[in-house]
């Protein structure tokens, strides 16, 4: 079990309210990602769930039981920290065993779980080393191992991959996803990286200034963002926003079109502009286009084979069915 319910939860630090009243339910077994720019309150929210911060008002329920005043040790949750937070004076084995030692599990059961976790996380050869003798990726695996052996009702991840290099990050991302598939335990994952959010989540919670902007599946957010903030935050490269007469044609204050929903050609299309920068990724090419008369820059994602250069004047065609319409407040027009 691992259903977590937040009911009118708020958090203030002194006079500053970082989380205005907030309701959220994370279902048992769900992989839920909190995403948003830095300072949006996503880590604070996670720490409230963990019990590392006290809520200012409101209630938190874990599996239907009120856990608002329960100390972190008693909530049955496991957390993986950004800095890994391993115990530097203990070997990997003792690090992983620590939560079980606290729970006073029998020695043979501890050993069985350590061996299983080490096997699953490729740590068997490192059990007698100290954290200081491990690489970043290995340390993160130890932190995950320490979380797994508790058999918690939910895992909490606080930007666990942001200290790793890009290649390792992709690998660990897959490992965590596979772990979720295998364990089917509730996971709450905080990140500022929308790619991590999109690739891992069952449910994404987009936050800004402590407010939930939208909750939904990755594709929900991609296809039907509730407002301009979500539309701009989800998807890479960012959605293009166009205001003025072009938007008025669609009966909107602002229209949004994703870079992958615009096609470029030398001579066909309703919009035109000059290529400022073209970024070749091999599989794709990103064109940053100026002088369109629509917005400062329009970004287009084209096939890797398409080849225009700096200074080329080209034509653009948006896919009409992929145009998002927003009103003056930035809210989606259905």
């Amino acid at each position: 079990m691992g259903q977590i319910q937040l009911n009118q939860v708020t958090k203030s630090f002194g006079a500053v309210e970082v989380i205005p009243p907030l309701d959220l339910t994370i279902e048992d077994g769900e992989f839920c990602v909190f995403v948003g720019p830095s300072g949006c309150g996503k880590s604070t929210l996670l720490r409230l769930i963990a019990g590392l911060e006290d809520v200012t008002s409101g209630h938190i329920a874990i599996d239907g039981n009120d856990a608002t005043m329960t100390p972190p040790a008693k909530r049955g949750l496991a957390m993986v920290f950004q800095s890994y937070a391993l115990y530097p004076h203990m070997s990997v084995r003792k690090n992983i065993a620590f939560p079980m030692k606290m729970a006073k599990l029998p020695e043979d059961e501890q050993k069985r779980r350590i061996d299983a976790a080490a096997q699953a996380l490729n740590l068997t050869d490192y059990l007698d080393r100290r954290p200081g003798q491990l690489s970043g990726g290995q340390r993160q695996r130890v932190a995950i191992g320490r979380a797994i052996v508790r058999e918690p009702s939910a895992f909490l991840f606080d930007e666990p991959l942001s200290n790793l290099d890009a290649a390792l990050r992709v690998g660990m991302r897959l490992e965590i996803s596979e772990l979720h598939e295998r364990l089917k335990t509730t996971m709450i994952y905080v990140t500022h990286d929308q790619v991590e959010a999109m690739t891992m989540a069952d449910k994404i919670v987009v936050l800004q200034a402590g407010l939930i902007e939208q909750v939904g599946s990755p594709l929900d957010l991609y296809h039907t963002p509730r407002n301009k903030f979500v539309a701009g935050f989800i998807g890479s490269p960012k959605m293009n926003f166009i205001e003025g007469p072009e938007a008025a044609k669609y009966d909107a204050h602002t229209i949004g079109i994703r870079p992958e929903h615009i096609t470029v050609s030398a001579d066909e299309g309703p919009w035109s502009g000059v290529v400022s920068v073209s970024e070749h990724l091999g599989s794709d090419t990103f064109f940053h286009i100026h002088e369109t008369g629509l917005a400062d820059t329009i970004t287009v994602r084209a096939d890797g084979e398409v080849n225009f250069r700096h200074g080329d004047r080209i034509r653009l065609s948006p896919r009409a069915d992929m145009i998002h319409r927003f009103d003056a407040e930035g809210l989606r027009i259905a």
Binding site: A73, H89, P99
Partner: protein, 276 residues
């Protein structure tokens, strides 16, 4: 190369370091040398440095006249006991100041330190009277408590500084792992702060060992430590320099040896966090 140190510079630096070191060590060296002289040689003018008749007579006399082992035992109990008690009280105090500070934490730390600025004699009367009322005069337990209180601000400050260096997330991890507050302090914080705790212990043992004001004023015979043992040889009349030196040497020898063997630990602890 960041900075090249020439051979000449190295020699000058080494010579300067040795000179300062010898200057600081000289009084102790002189005391030790004097303890092996006769009383006449001890006050001879000009003073003799090494060319004197080495004798163990002073030590024999001192050992005959006073019960060195009792003073030594008292010193060990008082210095060790006050440090141990201080550490037990200071670890939770420093924990709370370092990890759950309130608005007043900085003020409390400064206030604690300010008590060290008060001349000890200023509180002699009240403490003396309290000791009389409680029947603590000339008792080891009384001195353990007083020396603990005298050094507690330093112990708390030192531990606070070390604890500040420990990332809070590691303690939070322990909390998430199901550790109670006691387990968190016992299994995670304390082992991580061992270098800092060790140097705090060492420094406080030394401070308590050498403390003379309170030990001389609050003891008579039963609980008197080595400082009182030395004082008993400083007499306004007669020639006692050599015997005084012998007594002093015997009083400082244990702490000198302890300090010598733990100097590496002491230095690394005192500069902990300074270089990162």
């Amino acid at each position: 190369m960041a900075r090249s140190v020439t051979q000449k510079r190295k020699i000058i630096n080494t010579a300067a370091a040795w000179s300062v070191g010898l200057l600081i060590f000289f009084p102790i060296l002189w005391t030790i040398l004097t303890s092996f002289k006769t009383e006449a040689q001890a006050i001879s003018d000009p003073p003799v440095f090494l060319a004197f008749d080495w004798t163990l007579e002073n030590y024999t006399v001192v050992l005959e006249r006073s019960d060195y082992m009792r003073f030594l035992w008292n010193s060990i109990i008082i210095a060790g006991g006050s440090t141990l008690l201080g550490i037990i009280i200071a670890i939770p105090a420093a924990w709370s100041m370092a990890f759950v500070p309130s608005k007043r934490t900085k003020d409390i730390l400064l206030w604690m330190l300010s008590t060290k600025m008060l001349p000890a004699v200023g509180v002699l009367y009240p403490i003396y009277l309290i000791f009389i009322k409680m029947g603590l005069l000339d008792s080891k337990i009384g001195l353990v408590v007083v020396l603990m209180l005298i050094n507690l601000p330093i112990i708390v400050w030192m531990l606070y500084t070390y604890f500040k260096e420990i990332p809070g997330e590691i303690l939070e991890a322990a909390r998430m792992d199901g550790a109670s507050l006691r387990e968190e302090v016992l299994y995670v914080l304390t082992p991580m702060a061992i270098p800092g705790i060790a140097s705090t212990v060492l420094l406080n043992v030394i401070l308590a060992w050498n403390e003379a004001f309170w030990t001389l004023n609050l003891t008579a015979a039963k609980a008197a430590p080595l400082t009182a043992f030395i004082a008993s040889y400083s007499s306004p009349e007669g020639l006692f320099y050599a015997k005084l030196s012998a007594a002093s040497t015997m009083a400082i020898a244990p702490i000198l040896i302890l300090g010598w063997f733990s100097q590496k630990q002491l230095v690394s602890g005192l500069t902990f966090g300074a270089v990162k």
